[in-house]
């Protein structure tokens, strides 16, 4: 195989790896947020915000399913997007 052909194969393999990495990175945040949504559906009593009964701030807002959704969203918006831009430059 000529060196040009070898380089082309190597470049394609590199692009495939980068594309797979991009897919994985773009999934981390949404999957985390989805885990929070599933948790809220399985244990709706945890999401007091939807059915308040005079609870204080902490019992309304700082509930685990909401925190998991928030973590997923924050990661996606603040970290994953920038990472995806950087990975795109590699393709």
């Amino acid at each position: 195989m000529s060196s040009t052909a070898t380089q082309t194969v190597a470049t394609r393999a590199g692009s495939a790896v980068t594309t797979r990495r991009m897919r994985l990175v773009s999934l981390i945040g949404p999957l985390t947020a989805l885990a929070g949504v599933v948790w809220a559906i399985v244990q709706p009593e945890r999401v007091t915000l939807l059915h308040p009964h005079g609870e204080t701030f902490w019992w309304l807002v700082i509930e685990p399913p909401l925190l998991v959704m928030l973590a997923g969203a924050l990661f996606h918006l603040l970290v994953a997007r920038g990472l995806l831009d950087d990975l795109e430059e590699e393709v």
Binding site: R21, I28, T32, W58, L67, F75, V79, L83
Partner: protein
């Protein structure tokens, strides 16, 4: 306006979950891409340091026994040490590779602090169970930061470290002030609040 103890555990759980996501993303993209933006390189070590700093007010306002206070103080110190060591290595202020052992050391100290400060058996109540789980998770999970210290670019070690933080997050999210565990609740533990 002081949060209940359960909520403090849940907020720390969110911190550990975010740490796990950062480390997982770094393992997926590799250190070169992760460090392309300087702020990202410092993200998770400074997060560990910040969580250590935030452990001090927890120690001050939420502990009700000496043993509890000492355990929280130990977590605060080792988290700050581990975060600072990683920051120092990244910045080039620290040169010895031995500083990488700060993270497995922090894991071991944290795990032992969990196991020593829990005086009750596993099924006494939920928090006792979680303390045992967290203790052993940190002690056994110390293998991953140790492997990472020896071979920083080994993906398995980095993914393993992220997964340990995820297990810690799940355990902390499961915490309740006073609740049964798998149907067991010792009468000595008291009445559940909810």
């Amino acid at each position: 306006m002081q949060p209940p103890a359960e909520h403090v555990h849940w907020m720390f759980a969110t911190g550990f979950l975010l740490l796990a996501l950062f480390l997982l993303a770094e393992a997926v993209v590799g250190p070169e891409v992760w460090r392309r933006r300087p702020w990202r390189a410092y993200l998770w070590p400074s997060f560990v340091f910040l969580m250590g700093v935030l452990m001090w007010p927890v120690m001050t306002f939420f502990t009700n026994s000496t043993l509890h206070l000492v355990a929280h103080g130990a977590w605060a110190q080792v988290m700050m040490l581990a975060g600072a060591a990683e920051l120092g290595l990244l910045r080039g202020k620290l040169h010895s590779a031995l500083w990488r052992l700060a993270m497995p050391f922090a894991f071991l100290v944290s795990g032992i602090a969990f196991l020593v400060h829990e005086q009750n058996p596993w099924l006494f109540q939920r928090s006792a169970f979680l303390h045992h789980v967290l203790g052993w998770t940190f002690v056994l999970g110390a293998l991953f930061p140790l492997l990472r210290a020896l071979r920083p670019r080994w993906e398995l070690a980095n993914v393993g470290l992220a997964l340990v933080f995820m297990v810690v997050a799940v355990a902390l999210y499961s915490d309740r002030d006073l609740a049964p565990v798998f149907g067991h609740l010792s009468p000595l533990a008291g009445e559940p609040h909810r």
